[in-house]
Structure formats: C-alpha cells, structure tokens
C-alpha cells in the first residue's frame, strides 16, 4: 500500500524548553488506522501538529504523499486541506456562531462557490449524523455533538487523512464507543485515520497499528497485540495492558493453549474460552441475524418485522442508520460493536436485527463469515425486504 505520511528523523524543542520530540521516524500507509499512544507529556500533540504544518520540526522532515512538506502559505493551505486535524477541545475548534457556518468555514476559505459549499456542508453533516442541526449555535450542543460538528468541519474539506488529538476526551463511554465506530465508518470510506490517545482499551481493538511514544521517542511500533502485550514496555510507558490481552496472557501462563490471534473483542474471548472448555462453542441452533439495508429496502417491512418479533434485539450500524432508527422511534439495543454483539446473541440461540447502510452492509457478511469459518458454526444472515425474507446460510 502507498505511504501517505512519513516522518524522517524528526526532532523539535519548544523555545527555551527541553526537547519535546527526539529523532522520530515512522510512516503511515493509505487507508490505515494508526493510534499514537503515550502518557501525558510524551509529545503526542506536538507530533500530531507537525502533520499539518502547524509546528515545523527543528530537524528532520515530514513527507506527505512522498513529498517533503513545504512551509510557504499556499503549500500549507493545500496540505491542511488534505490533512484534516481535529483538536482535542471541540469548543476551541468551533469558530462560527452556528453549526452551518462552522462546517462551511473550510470550504468557504478554500474558495468553493455557494452551491459547492452547501453540498459539502450537507454531506459532512450527514456523515457524522448531524443533519438538521445547521442553525443551532454551538453552545446549545452537548459535548458529543460538538465533537461531531468539529469532525464535520474537517470532513467538509474532504481530506485524505484525518488526525485526531485525543478524540474521546470529554465524552461519556457510549459516546466514545460511537465516536470510534464513526472513525471506523470514515476509514471504510477510504480515509486514513491517525489518532493520539492514552486510552489503551479503546486503541487495542480499534487500531491496525500502534505507536508507543514516551519522552519524545518511539518505544515500540507494532500491531496492538504485540505493542500492548509486553508488560514491561507498557509499564515503562505509564500505560496498562488491555484487559482482554491480560486475561488471555493469564490463561496462557496457567498452561491453557493460546490461539494464534490474540483476542481483540469479547466475542474472540468467548470463543477462546469455549474452545478451552469443550471444543464446541455454541447453542445447538444458533440464532439468525436479520440485516436491513436502508438504502435499498423499505422501512415498512422492518417495522412489521419488529412488531411481529418482540424478542428481536435491534442494533444500528452507522450514523445514518441510527438517525433513521430515531426517526422511526425504533428502540435500539446496540449502538456500537453491533456485529459482535449480534453474533454473541446468535450463539446463545437468539435472533437479532441490524439496521445499516450500503457502505456497511458488506461488513456484516464478512465478519459473520470470518467468524463462522474460524469456529465452524453456521449463523444465518437474512436480508430484510430485498428477497422477501428468504434466509441464506452464511
């Protein structure tokens, strides 16, 4: 895959201060999800601000799209259009007095005409699930909503890579999970995503690759299971081992066989444990997962299905599906980690329904397929309203 962002031996020190970044090299490939993890004061924010030229490294170079960053005004504007930076504090990022004006800020300054601005704003707000909030002033929004507006403001410029400084700070747990889902969704639409965080539990299941940063130096750069797997390293970086990883390590220390792939979710862990116990791992007849694609199906059949089957648990994947559920007042049991939670239900012999969109519908099949091949069970994925409810085994 193509390298989109690269740092070559980058150093920086604040005027009159100690060195914040001490000779760092790494690269980010197109379409990757990378988490920069480190304790407070490790230099995460400083490093992130180099990506869009807010901070110029003292030594070394940053390359974007294999070209070294140039620091004249017009090159910087081009760079900042393509590298979207979302600040930690959404209140500081939202400049304008209404949501519409704030999201329009980037496109307007890039010289789009009125219609293009309107389109960009509408699209960005739809992507983050904030359509209909255009005229609201920011001080009438909740923390999570502000964060989404801040993200929309960056998305409106249609960047190639999105850089988030502590994306979940100040959000409640379900807000954080939903935000991480949103990042996944954006990643699926082709954006490269780079986040900084010190929340290992969040970074562990989400990231493709983790960079551990300590005192301005890279401590480790690897897949999450390895980067977070070394207790010594984790201790040194003032972090903690993710609970699932710790559990799996502890099982290993007690002589239980370890799977090749470290468990990254509760579903993985259940699979591991059930395998350890008796080889087979599920209810005699696993439940089915109904999938409804909002872009092709009609909502009446879903409402009928929900009415007929009160035992069905409903989950929504993607911001548009969630908005649709809210509009139709469908009560949702799952709003994040939906596929895994539905598979878990299936294994208990219960049925569930996933509301989703064109872009994400494929993921349900892929994930369920992957699980079924790995575990040797058969979970049926049934599309709603497209084939009249005929089931096909996955």
């Amino acid at each position: 895959m193509k390298i989109i962002l690269e740092a070559r031996d980058v150093s920086y020190h604040y005027p009159g201060d100690r060195e914040a970044i001490k000779g760092i090299s790494f690269h980010v490939k197109k379409g990757e999800k990378v988490a920069l993890v480190g304790p407070n004061g490790a230099g995460k924010s400083t490093l992130l601000q180099m990506f869009n030229g807010m901070i110029r490294p003292g030594k070394g170079t940053i390359l974007f799209d294999t070209e070294p960053i140039r620091y004249d005004a017009s090159s910087l504007r081009q760079l900042r259009k393509r590298v979207g930076y979302v600040m930690q504090n959404a209140d500081r990022q939202i400049i304008a007095p209404t949501v519409y004006q704030d999201v329009a800020f980037g496109p307007a300054n890039l010289g789009y005409d009125e219609n293009a601005i309107r389109e960009a704003v509408a699209l960005a707000l739809r992507q983050v699930g904030m359509a209909g909030f255009e005229r609201r002033p920011p001080h009438h929004l909740s923390g999570g909503e502000k964060k989404k507006v801040a993200i929309a403001g960056v998305l409106a410029m249609d960047p190639d890579i999105l850089v988030f400084d502590e994306p979940t700070s100040g959000l409640d747990p379900s807000g954080s999970e939903e935000l991480m889902e949103l990042l996944d969704e954006l990643n699926h639409e082709g954006k490269t995503i780079f986040i900084s965080t010190h929340d290992v539990e969040l970074a562990y299941p989400w990231a493709d690759r983790v960079i551990l940063l300590l005192d301005g130096k890279i401590l480790e750069e690897n897949v999450p299971a390895v980067a977070f797997g070394d207790p010594e390293l984790v201790l040194k970086a003032h972090l903690s081992v993710p609970i699932l990883l710790e559990l799996s390590q502890e099982l290993g220390r007690r002589g239980f066989a370890q799977p090749e792939q470290k468990p990254r979710s509760v579903l993985d862990m259940i699979h591991v444990i059930e395998n350890l116990l008796h080889g087979t791992c599920c209810h005699a007849t696993p439940g089915a997962i109904h999938v409804y694609n909002m872009d092709t199906g009609d909502i009446a059949s879903v409402l009928a299905l929900i009415r007929d089957r009160p035992d069905l648990c409903v989950g929504a994947m993607g911001t548009r599906a969630k908005m649709c559920a809210a509009k139709e007042s469908i009560s949702l049991s799952f709003t994040y980690g939906v596929i895994d939670k539905c598979i878990l239900r299936s294994l208990r012999g219960q049925d569930s329904l996933i509301l989703t969109t064109n872009a994400m519908v494929g993921r349900v099949g892929t994930r369920v397929d992957a699980y079924c091949t790995e575990s040797g069970t058969i979970i049926r994925v049934i599309p709603v309203a497209t084939g009249g409810g005929t089931g096909s085994p996955a």
Partner: protein, 264 residues
C-alpha cells in the same frame, strides 16, 4: 443566566422559522411609530398587542418575559418621578415644599409629558424585546450582511457572540472554584478574589485567542468567515399580517392626530 435565557428564548420560540426580515420589520416599524406618536394611546396599544403576540403565538415563557420587562419598568418609573418634577407648563396639580428654599411642583403639562414618555418607553421596549426574543443573533448577522454592514464588523461580532458563552462558562468555573475554597467571604478578601478572577480570565482569554488563530489556520483560513445560513423565504402569511398591523397602528395614530377619534 440572563444572557443565556434570552438566547434560549430566541432559539426556541415558535416564530424561529419566520424570515428575520419580517420580524425586524414588525419590531422596528412599531418602534418608529411608538417614537413619533404624539399620543400615549398608540404605544400602549402596540405594547399590549405585541406582548400578547409574544406570549401566545410565539410561546415565550411568561416568566422570562415578566422578568425581562421588570428591569426597564423599575428604571423608567424612577426616571418618570424625576421628570414629573422637572417638566413645567400648565396648571399646578401638586405642590411640595419641605424647606423654604425648595419648591417641588407637578403641573398638568408635566403629567401629560411623563405619561407620554412612559408609554413610549413601554411601546419601544416591547418592540425591541419582540426582535430580541424571536430572532436569534445569527439571523440578525445575516440581515446585517444583506444590509451591507461592513463584513469585518460582522465577522468580529460573530466571533464575539461565539466566545461570549465560552468566556461566561470560564468565569463561572473560576468563580465556583473560588467559592468552593471559601473565596468572597470577607469584603477585603472579596476584592482580592475578584481581582484574581479577572487575572485568570485575562490569561485564559489570551490562550483561547491563540487557539482560535490556530483553529482557523488548521482549516485553511484565508480571510473568509462564511457565508449566509440557508434562510427561509419571506412568507406572505407572516408578512401580510405585519404590514396590516403596522398600517393599522399608523392609521390609529393619524386618526387621533386629525381628530377623527378623540381621546381625552
């Protein structure tokens, strides 16, 4: 909490989706008529009708509206008392002389003038409240832009409006932190606490200002604060009643002036 109350009302009233031009026309139109009216009947009538409109169809909570009215009422009552004694002309209605060299008199002309001023204050205040309570500031910015107010001025106002609330929250937080640790307990200490609050606010505003520049740079700032919000068209079902109302009000004034209708 007063400024947030006003803003809440402006954002959430039932007239929120009427074109701001229509609302401003109603507010400013009745303001002008109240100002030029030589008789107290017209402003009082206008004030009453607009109050009813604000409370019923626009669904402004009565408590907020009452509290809002209270402030100018207190102020104008005090002023009227002074005016009653200051203005002259006509017959003496009441005389008061507590000491030999002070003569306080109220004359008929003074009473007429004071009543007129009081009614104008009432009419004009309600007209202004009508705009303030039904039209969010952001809509006013749009209208200013259409009226060719210099863009730099509007941009500044927009940023100020955005940051008032952040500034206010910050002040509240600092104040709470001080009170929790027993600030403002003695008069001398209060002055000290307050000066600390001001100092802290200055520093944090400075930091917020630097962040603002950075946030704008991050998003390719090139001198443009966007753009008009999408706005509803002027709708006849709201515009025509406004025109009718204003012409009715003007008509009553002219009728009274020319002596067709006589109030005494």
């Amino acid at each position: 909490m007063f400024e947030t109350l006003l803003d809440d009302a402006a954002q959430n009233n039932a007239f929120r989706h009427i074109h701001p031009g229509t609302k401003i026309l109603l507010g400013l139109g009745s303001l002008c008529i109240c100002l030029v009216s030589p008789t107290p009947v017209v402003p009082v009538l206008s004030g009453l009708i607009l109050s009813i409109v604000l409370l019923l169809p626009a669904r402004i909570p009565a408590r907020i509206y009452g509290e809002l009215l209270l402030a100018p009422v207190v102020f104008s009552v005090f002023s009227i008392v002074v005016l009653l004694f200051m203005l002259g002309g006509g017959d003496v209605v009441w005389e008061f002389s507590p000491v030999s060299w002070i003569h306080l008199t109220i004359t008929t002309n003074a009473v007429h003038q004071s009543v007129l001023i009081l009614s104008r204050v009432f009419g004009c205040m309600v007209s202004l409240f009508f705009i303030a309570l039904t039209t969010p500031l952001t809509d006013l910015f749009n209208m200013m832009k259409r009226c060719r107010v210099p863009v730099e001025l509007i941009d500044l106002m927009m940023i100020m409006y955005r940051y008032i609330f952040i500034f206010y929250d910050q002040a509240k937080e600092i104040w709470q932190a001080q009170v929790m640790r027993l600030g403002y307990q003695r008069p001398k200490e209060s002055i000290h606490s307050f000066s600390m609050l001001c100092g802290m606010l200055f520093i944090s505003s400075w930091i917020v200002g630097e962040d603002l520049v950075r946030a704008m740079d991050c998003r390719c700032y090139n001198g443009i604060m966007p753009s008009l919000d999408p706005m509803e068209p002027v709708r006849m079902q709201s515009f025509i009643p406004v025109v009718l109302y204003l012409s009715g009000l003007g008509g009553i004034m002219v009728a009274i002036l020319t002596g067709i209708v006589v109030f005494s």
